[in-house]
Amino acid sequence: MMAKELITSAENTWCTGCGNFGILNAVPKAVKKLEEKGVGKDKIVITAGIGCHGKIHDYLALSGLYSIHGRGSAVGQGMKIANPDLKVIAFGGDGDSYGEGIAHMIFAAKRNADITVLIHDNGAYSLTTGQASPTSERSFKGPSTPEGSAEDPLNPLALMLISGATFVARGYSAKLDNLVELIVRGVMHEGFSIIDILQPSVVFNDAYDEYNEKTEIIESPAESVDEAIKLTRERERLPIGVLYEKQKEPHHKALLGDFNPVADRFSREKRLKAIREIIGG
């Protein structure tokens, strides 16, 4: 399968040079590698929230649900519980998933939901012309903060780590091979995986120079949550790669064991029997 077969004919409306193109290039390559590992593209479902990141749902020829603002991780968890045989990739943005959708992220991490969340983190609400987002730097100037933001940015990966995420990574949209590998590892990880992808918005937050200079691929994850948090706090360099990984029973296994609500769907007779047992008829 050629990677370009995974791109639809939808018109692409991202700005020329947008970091989102790096992610759009990486996903088909990752899907190809996943196929080699036995995960067919028919088993991969995607979802997205609202924002420039969400357009990737239209551009990728994969099944899924283009959801609403901040709800990609919530919808993704639903898809996994409905059919645990599926591999779920939930796309989100920093404004979308770290803002309105942050509670879904925290609880997905807490329950170790087996989904992979890819955050297109550009530090701005770029679809709506660049308002300050949860990861915008202090003093960030945009239409909603003309004098500069008076708030410090959130550290989303530290928040995910203390919430219980079992696979925490940072990628950079311009480091394609590394990003492809992170996506493959995130999808293969059994449990909640989050990859925060540094993704410059050329018009509203052009951070290419800073990221090119500061990003540094780390070879192995931190040994502990505390050490991983330290990596997320580094400012002089920006560590790229898997920051933390741990094996832990995923939510659907804890909830359903090996039961699959789709494949093992109860027959009418079995349902009626269960109802009769409850009502004692």
């Binding site: 639809t8 939808a10 749902h57 994969l62 899924g64 283009y66 609403i68 059919n83 789709v262």
Partner: protein, 217 residues
């Protein structure tokens, strides 16, 4: 209702309330009488379109895992589920959803959508658990009346209310603004003579309600 949601691929809202949810009662269930409607599923072998435009407004379903691309979309979309801003497609999709609304209404017309208690005296419109308060009040006050209780509020069963067009009814509801009375007027053109309202967080008292109904008559 879950059957209707499944068959017509629409979300359904089951209205409930504190009085009902805090009351216990026994009902007899006959599991073998439970009907399970099947949704319209897509045929294999043709290109799958999640939002295929059809006469009845219902697009056949298909679920992953599948070799086909199955895209649901919260934005306005083309038949294949990809976002669109094309004016013609947007209008067609609105038309398709509107036709589905008509399909659902047609099905509801064949179903029981209104409960009627009594067949003489003044007409009383009410809904939800307030219906039981009203029936009890009529008994307590020895009042003859016809009580109309729509079971569905959307689509509103206006076809079942034609006989009461000139009834100058009493509307009884738990609301400060009279929203149920407004809904009746909006959907049927029937304007209520009197609205009896209560909104102190407690159910109607049958004897007090009986007095209020007598006053309204």
């Amino acid at each position: 209702m879950l059957n209707l949601c499944w068959k017509y691929q629409v979300p359904g809202i089951l209205l409930t309330e504190k009085h009902l949810s805090e009351s216990a009662m026994s009902v007899e269930l006959k599991p073998e009488d439970i009907e399970i409607m099947e949704p319209k599923m897509a045929n294999d072998g043709e290109e799958y379109l999640r939002y295929k435009i059809t006469d009845d407004g219902i697009s056949p379903l298909k679920f992953p895992p599948s070799e086909d691309m199955i895209k649901w979309n919260s934005y306005e979309h083309s038949e294949n589920g990809i976002t669109t801003e094309d004016a013609e497609t947007i209008s067609k999709m609105h038309d398709a959803r509107f036709r589905k609304g008509e399909t659902v209404e047609k099905a509801l017309r064949e179903m029981k959508t209104v409960n009627v208690y009594g067949d003489s005296g003044p007409v009383i419109f009410t809904y939800g658990s307030t219906t039981m308060s009203v029936v009890e009040a009529l008994k307590a006050g020895d009042i003859e009346a016809t009580v109309i209780q729509p079971i569905y509020l959307e689509p509103f069963p206006k076809w079942a209310m034609k006989d009461f067009a000139d009834s100058n009814p009493i509307v009884i509801e738990q609301s400060v603004s009279g929203m149920f009375a407004n809904l009746i007027t909006e959907k049927t053109g029937i304007s209520p003579g009197t609205i009896i309202k209560r909104y102190d967080g407690r159910p109607f008292d049958p004897e007090e309600l009986a007095e209020a109904i007598k006053e309204a008559i």
